[in-house]
């Protein structure tokens, strides 16, 4: 039983990380109908920001996540202004291909600037630390990321549902023209949403160097899993992507242990296929 609970705990902690990464993607899709293919690379950039602050200035990721979040907010905002804003209203494929191009650009830029070498912060405040709860062991870095994930998701959720700006975002996502007629600056809303998407993935990336090495390819699989979380939860649904992320974390952990570790991503993608076949709009889609 302890082992079962331990595996469930591992799965939930990983699921929380996926949820934080997926949150930004679901926000952008929900409001703008744009799939940001560079999302995984935003995570990678955030990890580099955190790594370099730790390496050059000895700032712990527990602090540097703020800088990573801000940096990726600015990067995402610039991406919107310079790339995506020109493609709103054009065929959906245009924005998708443009962000795919951006992902290639960012990956190769980091390869060129930082080399393909993987970089690891040897000592951080959280590295290798654990908390024992009875016979269960919680990895502190993963636990802290999970707590951050819950807090950020709660704040974003409250922001969307309980503030005037959040209502404006909701209105824009429902009907852009009607929102403009009501005096909402939809251009500003789009820029803000893209930036907020960046903040979420920026915070996740800022904290990841507490246990994960950084290299230009690190964001690729995270980006793909985030996409699966969003599609499985229902494009645009914050709650949907959160529960889908937890489900993916659990399926990955249980399949990895009870079937075979090599099978864990097979199980995740098989689950995704089943869900989209039975509910094409995702678990919480409308």
């Amino acid at each position: 039983m302890t082992l079962f609970l331990q595996i469930a705990l591992d799965g939930i902690l990983n699921g929380m990380l996926y949820a934080l990464v997926a949150l930004g993607l679901t926000l952008i899709w929900g409001v703008m109908d744009v799939i940001n293919f560079a999302h995984g690379e935003f995570l990678m950039i955030a990890m580099y920001v955190s790594y370099w602050l730790g390496f050059l200035m000895n700032i712990d990721p527990l602090v540097s996540w703020v800088a990573s979040g801000v940096f990726v907010f600015l990067l995402a905002f610039a991406t919107y202004k310079l790339v995506v804003s020109h493609l709103i209203g054009k065929p959906a494929l245009s924005a998708l291909l443009a962000t795919f191009g951006l992902s290639m650009f960012l990956k190769n830029l980091c390869l060129n600037r930082f080399s393909p070498n993987f970089k690891l912060l040897s000592v951080t405040a959280l590295s290798g630390k654990t908390i024992s709860v009875g016979s269960l062991i919680l990895s502190l870095p993963q636990f802290v990321i999970a707590i951050f994930s819950l807090i950020v998701i709660f704040i974003i959720y409250r922001f969307i549902t309980s503030t005037r700006m959040g209502w404006a975002i909701q209105a824009t996502s429902m009907d852009k023209e009607a929102a403009e007629l009501m005096g909402i600056d939809t251009e500003k809303i789009y820029g803000l949403v893209f930036g907020l998407g960046g903040v979420c993935v920026g915070i996740a990336g800022g904290l990841l160097p507490t246990y994960m090495p950084v290299h230009p390819e690190v964001g690729s699989l995270f980006g793909l899993i985030a996409f699966i979380c969003v599609a499985m939860g229902g494009f645009g649904s914050i709650a949907g992507s959160f529960f889908a992320s937890l489900l993916i974390g659990l399926v990955e952990a249980f399949a990895g242990f009870y079937i075979a570790p090599i099978f864990k991503y097979v199980a995740v993608f098989a689950l995704y296929l089943v869900v989209v076949m039975l509910k094409p709009k995702g678990l919480f889609g409308w």
């Binding site: 082992l3 331990q6 595996i7 591992d10 990983n14 990380l17 390869l111 080399s115 393909p116 070498n117 993987f118 970089k119 690891l120 040897s122 000592v123 590295s127 290798g128 654990t130 062991i137 990895s139 502190l140 870095p141 993963q142 246990y211 994960m212 090495p213 290299h215 230009p216 390819e217 690190v218 690729s220 699989l221 995270f222 899993i225 990955e252 952990a253 399949a255 990895g256 242990f257 075979a260 570790p261 090599i262 864990k264 991503y265």
Partner: protein, 422 residues
């Protein structure tokens, strides 16, 4: 008007053809041998690939120029075959077999290289070397360790490093020695490996060697390289709790594996590793004390330099070609050995005919001061039967030699101290 355009286009084509031919003539007058390198220069194991490329560049610099103070064959003269210089054409396979195959085809068919040196990942070496074999061209492999590669009966394929078969037997011999002389009482074994050509063959050879020695093989854990986490993998090892774990994890995956074992507060009594994650001095440095007490085989590390005095001056050149400047590691030095041995064989054969060079490679024993055994000789299939490695253990960030006894400079520490007792 249309006719004038046609004339202009025709003139342009003639000029381009002339320039192209002139270029070819100039190139042939320069007495150049083009050799391709095929390594993972990007992707998850790019760090190792960049080092392998730098090692080949180092060997070529020594071969092309006169370095009378370097005690390595061909160092004292300039070039080979009476003045031929080697020119390298680099290709990146990103760790992907399909790209490796396509790049090998491009190197031979478009770049016109004479031979290829590569490819680090066994999974890439396998298809890329088949490309060479079909064209009857030489493929020199430094460090890909899958034993399968030299069991294919190929004529133009040569590998310098020990295989995972010999390393598995060495690991088991070491564990037996621990049991017999140190009362270690190690009985159960597990293997964690990436699900690639390299990892799968390492696991197969490990299983064979473990069972042949009468030990119990109780945990077989494969994982996808580049995974977002290795929790299930370590939980599975922890659940089975083998006394000894053999690891076949490269690059970033090795770091994540060690870190995950620490997070889940588990360690085997003895941990022995194949290939690069453990052998990589940068990774050892980045892991810091967490990397200590793990063991593995190595064909070279700075701590072995006293056994191989010729390496030091070559290593100084190598350090100028890699950023940050680091010493050779066990893998990269094998790529330099492959380059030197190929050049020696061409020189001795006195021709660039690949068939004659291949025959010469098989027929001779080659001086190789950059190899731990000091010699290179090939068995049918292309395996270097003189390849040697020692079992080392990381202590305080240094690779200490622990086995075999005649090469050891330190006693092994076992069981590995638990994470909370370091």
């Amino acid at each position: 008007m249309k006719r004038q355009w046609s004339k202009k286009v025709l003139a342009l084509v003639v000029v381009l053809l002339f320039v192209g031919l002139a270029g070819d003539v100039a190139f042939s007058q320069e007495k150049v041998i083009k050799i391709g390198t095929l390594f993972p220069l990007t992707g998850p194991v790019a760090l190792a690939g960049q080092r392998c490329k730098a090692a080949v560049e180092t060997a070529v610099e020594v071969i092309n120029n006169s370095y009378p103070d370097i005690k390595v064959p061909l160092a004292a003269q300039e070039g080979i075959l009476g003045g031929y210089k080697i020119v390298l054409v680099h290709a990146d396979h990103q760790g992907k077999p399909d790209i490796g195959k396509t790049e090998a085809e491009r190197l031979f068919d478009q770049e016109g290289v004479y031979a290829i040196i590569g490819s680090y990942n066994s999974a890439v070496t396998k298809p890329a070397s088949l490309v060479a074999e079909r064209r009857k061209k030489l493929f020199m492999c430094g460090c890909s360790s899958s034993a399968e590669l030299t069991k294919r009966g190929m004529k133009y394929f040569f590998r310098m490093a020990p295989t995972d078969e010999t390393e598995s037997q060495e690991f088991v011999t070491f564990v037996k020695w621990l049991n017999e002389t140190k009362g270690a009482n190690l009985k159960t074994f597990g293997v964690i490996y990436e699900n690639t050509e390299f990892g799968k063959h390492a696991a197969e050879e490990a299983k064979k060697a473990i069972e042949a020695a009468g030990f119990q093989y109780i945990a077989d854990v494969a994982f996808n390289p580049g995974a977002t986490n290795l929790n299930s993998e370590v939980q599975m090892l922890k659940g089975k709790n083998p006394d000894v774990v053999f690891g076949a994890c490269l690059g970033a995956d090795y770091i994540l594996w060690v870190r995950t074992m620490k997070q889940l507060a588990w360690l085997p009594k003895v941990c022995l590793n194949y290939c690069s994650g453990y052998q990589d001095p940068i990774i050892a440095q980045q892991l810091g004390p967490d990397g200590d007490y793990f063991m593995g085989t190595t064909g070279y590390s700075p701590e072995l330099a006293e056994l191989m005095p010729a390496v030091a001056p070559v290593e100084e050149i190598y350090k100028t070609k890699i950023d940050p400047p680091v010493p050779f590691d066990s893998d990269s030095i094998q790529e330099a050995v492959a380059t030197f041995v190929l050049a020696q064989a061409i020189e001795k054969a006195g021709t660039l005919d690949p068939d004659k060079v291949a025959e010469t490679l098989y027929a001779n024993e080659w001086e190789s001061p950059l190899s731990l055994g000091g010699k290179v000789a090939f068995a049918p299939g292309g395996q270097n039967i003189k390849a040697m490695s020692v079992v080392t253990q990381l202590k305080g960030g240094e690779y200490r030699r622990v086995f075999p006894l005649e090469l050891a400079n330190s006693d092994p520490v076992f069981p590995i101290p638990s994470w909370d007792k370091r």
